[in-house]
């Protein structure tokens, strides 16, 4: 029983962080209809920014979420504006090829700059645990990472619903032509959306850096998890990313109790297949973006 509760708690914490990893991926897919296969490389970019800041300035990786987000925002904005925008109206297959190539370039640049070795960002407290009754332990690192990740994800949802910029992003995602008729500059909105998505990935990466080891090869698994979370939650639905992240985190955590390490990914995809068969619109499943119109 203790083990079950422990695994569930771990899963929820991991899931909160997965939500932040995936929310940008879901946003870009929902708004621009671009499946960004380079998303995982953005997450790692954030982790390496945090690593560098830690080595150079001794900055705590959770504090580094802010500069990591800023660096990745700039990178994402520029990549969208000068690269992805060239093909954003092309069939989804073309954007897939482009972002696949981008992923390879970014991942290998990380290898060149930071070596392919596993790295970690040491903190004085991340490995210490909060002890709860019933012999349940929660490592502080995972707890802080999950709470910050959920807070940032929720803040993003409010940003999208409440602010002028967020509203223009939602509108452009629903009907680009109509949004342009409102005077919204779609190109700028797309670049901004991509930048925000990359910033979320960067912040998530810095937090991941605090709680686990990472290497450039992890880019792909971050992309894959983002894919699963985005589909679980419903595309472009940012609350959905939160539900999707939590469900995936818990399922993977249970899976790791019962199965060997590499089988956990199989559990994640089994979950995806079952969900696609049973409830293809995702958990949160409002057909928010169902009425997309291209102009």
């Amino acid at each position: 029983m203790t083990q079950f509760v422990q695994a569930t708690l771990y899963g929820l914490l991991q899931g909160g962080l997965l939500a932040l990893v995936a929310v940008g991926f879901s946003l870009v897919w929902g708004v621009m209809n671009v499946v960004n296969l380079a998303h995982g490389a953005f997450v790692l970019g954030g982790a390496y920014v945090a690593l560098e800041l830690h080595d150079a300035l001794g900055l705590d990786p959770f504090v580094s979420m802010v500069p990591a987000a800023a660096v990745l925002f700039a990178l994402g904005y520029l990549i969208q504006r000068y690269l992805v925008n060239l093909v954003v109206n092309a069939p989804i297959f073309i954007t897939l090829i482009l972002t696949f190539g981008l992923e390879m370039v970014l991942e290998n640049l990380l290898r060149v700059w930071f070596t392919p070795d596993y790295q970690s960002i040491p903190t004085g407290y991340a490995q210490d645990s909060l002890r709860l009754p019933g012999d349940i332990r929660i490592p502080y690192g995972k707890l802080i990472a999950a709470l910050l990740a959920v807070a940032v994800t929720v803040a993003l949802v409010y940003f999208m619903r409440r602010t002028r910029t967020g509203l223009s992003i939602l509108a452009t995602g629903m009907d680009r032509g109509a949004a342009r008729l409102m005077g919204v500059k779609a190109r700028h909105v797309y670049a901004l959306t991509f930048g925000i998505a990359a910033a979320m990935a960067g912040a998530a990466g810095a937090a991941e850096g605090a709680v686990r080891t990472f290497s450039p090869a992890d880019a792909r698994s971050f992309t894959l998890f983002s894919f699963v979370v985005a589909v679980l939650g419903g595309l472009g639905n940012m609350w959905g990313a939160l539900y999707g992240g939590l469900v995936l985190g818990v399922v993977m955590s249970w899976g790791s109790q019962l199965l060997s390490g590499t089988m956990v990914n199989a559990v994640a995809f089994a979950l995806l297949v079952v969900l696609l068969a049973v409830r293809p619109q995702g958990i949160a499943g409002k057909a928010f973006y169902a009425s997309r119109v291209e102009v």
């Binding site: 509203l167 409102m182 919204v184 009425s291």
Partner: protein, 230 residues
Amino acid sequence: MTLVVEDLHAGYGRVPVLHGVSVSVARGDIAALIGPNGAGKSTLLRAATGMVRVSRGAVRMDGRDLTNAPIETIARAGIAHVPEGRRLFPGLSVRDNLRLGGWRARNEDMGTVLELFPRLHERLDQVAGSMSGGEQQMCAIARALMGRPDFLLIDELSLGLAPVIVEEIMARLGQVAAEGTGILLVEQDAGHALEVAQRAYVLENGRITVTGKAAELAADPRVRAAYLGV
């Protein structure tokens, strides 16, 4: 202060639709563009607001050349287009749709348009896609007016709406024009449009075939037979 479309040629890909169409609307006036299905009425509006490429001719607003300018540039210049099918943001509330209408002008004051269409007041928090056709049309026009445009182009306002609703909306458009906005109404159902308009054009097969005062057109036996079903 006029919006002028001059000798406009436009089409889709290699298929030409408009063959040299000239139309103009002055601020404060309502002009009606009537014609059968497939004549190119919607294409004319789409070309005027940058949604379709113009291959020859010009779109000018108060002397400023807007031919083939990006959609958002034309919108920002003060020309609002209520497109075919209304194109509301169906998943957003009426309030958010109106906010987006005022997005460019940073206009959050909904008082004026809600006075014009009081029915929208009760619907503010309702999802736009769930309203009736008439309410959606009101919302689309209100959204366009939130940007305080100098010119308002409306595509097939009456399509699928009950005549009493069409009359209600048309009456409101008279008020809007009286306050200084130029309105171009594109209609297949010509009756109501000719009642509120000062000037009218008949577009057939991509060419203007009849032009004149709306009242004269409404009395013209040819127009009556073809478009008023009399």
